[in-house]
């Protein structure tokens, strides 16, 4: 694609919103925020939207579906954290407090769309439809991944930072070459935006005009390092501009705003308008993982201040205020969440030992003679151990 063709696309989008290309690419002046900390709908003038950045409120059904996933997500986070404390699980990077981002990420995608999550995005992966126990395989310590990415159209949760964004770009490029209208959501955190791969992924996606949405959950800390030590950019959303793509920032604890902003991004990407970068402002309420001591690097007051912005409470308040959530709905949703939690508990409590021969099974599509030999060696070793008992 030539530069003039790219320019043409941006012109098209900007004229669609009645703004200049520059205004289209720049994030709105303030983060998009539709409901306040208590769940009340903010006046239109205070939602952060401005010409070219107007976002409609999603439909009632979509909002209700989102809330249900939000409650399930919270329950999953709490259940898994408890399982780690009980020694049932090796490690769990909780997304407690970030559930709105997780849910919006999963719900904005269509059936054929792909998601590329990080290790902290288990709730998003479940909300996209992956079996919760399959998601937990990696944290339980059974295997380095637990589900089939092609079945669910979800990349394996990535432990190294940012590397998966380039894979997302590749999946999008393949889809484009085959003439499919697949959209790919590539997820990362604030720290990851400093990695070299972040630059390469954004630039490739922009140059090849690919339908990739880079969804940055800015939860303010990369383990112990605060955002202020990560970047001095006005916002992470501004990073998009240099690559020739649009950026937007949104309240990451406001499910209504998140769903609206991501829905539009998916629509624009699917229409062939190229990649977008969405930055969601949220907060990691718990430590990085159970091995981390967050009190070393952040103050209680800061954590408490974010409690008031809890995404679950805000969404509940909003739906109740709109008359979209009855007592019966709440009971049904709580039961669904409990079902998922008990499914996870049961799964974790049934102690399954992986077969040692699994070590050799999937290193190559065609095993090497050396591996066959090593596999026989281990089998012999284990059988002698068995005999010795």
């Amino acid at each position: 694609m030539t530069q003039s063709e790219q320019r043409h696309l941006s012109d098209e989008v900007s004229s669609k919103f009645g703004i200049s290309v520059e205004d289209y690419m720049l994030p709105a002046r303030d983060q998009i925020q539709m409901i306040d900390d208590n769940g009340a709908l903010r006046p239109a003038a205070e939602q952060g939207t401005e010409p070219g950045h107007a976002y409609p409120i999603p439909g009632a059904e979509e909002l209700q579906r989102g809330y249900e996933q939000l409650v399930i997500g919270r329950r999953v986070n709490d259940q898994n954290s408890a399982l780690v404390r009980q020694g049932r699980m090796a490690v769990y990077p909780s997304s407690h407090g970030q559930e709105a981002c997780q849910v919006a990420a999963a719900l904005c995608l269509g059936e054929g769309d792909w998601m590329f999550p990080t290790y902290r995005d288990s709730v998003a992966v479940m909300a996209k439809g992956v079996d919760p126990m399959e998601v937990m395989t990696i944290f339980r310590g059974d295997w380095h991944g637990g589900y089939d990415p092609t079945q669910y159209k979800v990349g394996i949760q990535s432990t190294p930072l940012t590397t998966q964004l380039l894979h997302a770009v590749g999946v999008a490029h393949a889809a484009k070459l085959r003439g499919e209208d697949t959209v790919v959501l590539a997820m990362c955190g604030d720290g990851a935006t400093s990695e070299g791969d972040f630059h390469e992924a954004l630039n490739f996606a922009a140059v090849f005009n690919l339908p990739v949405i880079f969804f940055v959950q800015n939860n303010k800390y990369a383990i112990s390092v605060p955002l202020s030590s990560q970047t001095v950019a006005p916002s992470l959303a501004h990073k998009a501009v240099g690559y020739g793509m649009a950026g937007e920032r949104v309240d990451g604890n406001d499910l209504v705003a998140l769903m609206s902003v991501l829905d539009r991004a998916v629509k624009l990407a699917r229409e062939g308008n190229g990649p977008l970068l969405i930055e969601a402002h949220t907060y990691r309420m718990q430590a990085h993982t159970n091995a981390d001591d967050a009190t070393r690097y952040r103050e209680d007051d800061e954590v408490k201040a974010w409690m008031a912005k809890d995404p679950v409470n805000r969404m509940r308040g909003f739906l109740k205020g709109q008359g979209l959530l009855t007592e019966a709905d709440e009971e049904r949703i709580a039961a669904r969440a409990e079902e998922t939690a008990s499914y996870l508990r049961d799964g974790m409590n049934s102690e399954e030992t992986p077969d040692p021969q699994d070590l050799f099974r999937w290193v190559y599509a065609t095993p090497t003679p050396q591996l066959i030999e090593q596999s026989a060696m281990l089998a012999d070793e284990l059988s002698r151990e068995e005999d010795g008992k």
């Binding site: 720290g191 400093s194 990695e195």
Partner: protein, 365 residues
Amino acid sequence: MSIVTTSSEANGNVSAATARAAASAAASAPQPVTFAKALNTALRDAMNQDNAVTIFGEDVGVLGGVFRITDGLTAEFGKSRCFDTPLAESGIVGMALGMAMNGMRPVIEMQFDAFAYPAFEQVASHVAKMHNRTKGKLPLPMVIRIPYAGGIGGVEHHCDSSEAYYAHTPGLKVYTPATVTDAYRMLREAIDSPDPVVFLEPKKLYWSKDTVDLEALRLEHENKATPSMEGKAAIARPGTDATLIAYGPSVSTAMAAAEAAAAEGRSLEVIDVRSIVPFDDETICASVRRTGRAVVIAEAQGFASVASEIVARVQERCFHSLAAPVLRVTGFDVPFPAPKLEKYYLPSVDRILDTVDQLQWEENA
């Protein structure tokens, strides 16, 4: 946003003399110290001795590193001496190279073995080659600390044994300590080295303890009272029947195997390689010539590995003294497994003893 700051950050460096006086007041009789504490003390002492020593990486500041190896250094020396970088391994290594070019002695942390791979371009193409490319005009005194290997039930990309990549790259020195004393002494030596050192820290040893007088080690090091350890293997346990050659995380397993063999009447010598590059052919071959038999033990995958190199060198140099081929006990040639499968992968005492049994002993020849 709250960043914990301390008065010493505001004031800059604590004077070396003050810190040293405090350190010697604290150190009385030798006490049990952890491997992690020895590394932490080595960094502190090196910073006190030389203002050019600067530490940086991911989470090394206020948090003190995810393994707390840099604990307290920012508070003591200020943010200009020990600081967090943005999250970018290639950036950390590349910047360290530039700082070393311009008179500093950077000591950087890669947090976890497999997270150092994005920096491999900087390590292999630039750090390793700068001295050579500049015909010796530019020595590159820098230390790349990498917590490595398994045995801690870590998730993927947290347990790799990456020593072969570095050992295979000319221009890098590669050290890996296995004892608390060596942790201190080798890190101090790595920092003093005019060459870039990849300093591999076995994660599973961080919490191991030994009774060590760190203050005595400091004085020894700073007075150059002991010979250099670079390229010097240690005899970790003397023996007469066969030599077990190990390094880093495998030394303790080899020691346990030797202990078990002794109970069965077989005397095994254990060699701790310590410095992979440069490599100590002398100590190792002298041992193998004495015992006539050898097994090399390493956690890394065996194919094209450091263990392979050791076997080849011993075979080349000791052929006429050998009563049996030199054998290896290594990890399988598979990606480092998930926690629940780790025990089947790691070289175990039994696997070592089985291998020793295969060394063509007369009773079963």
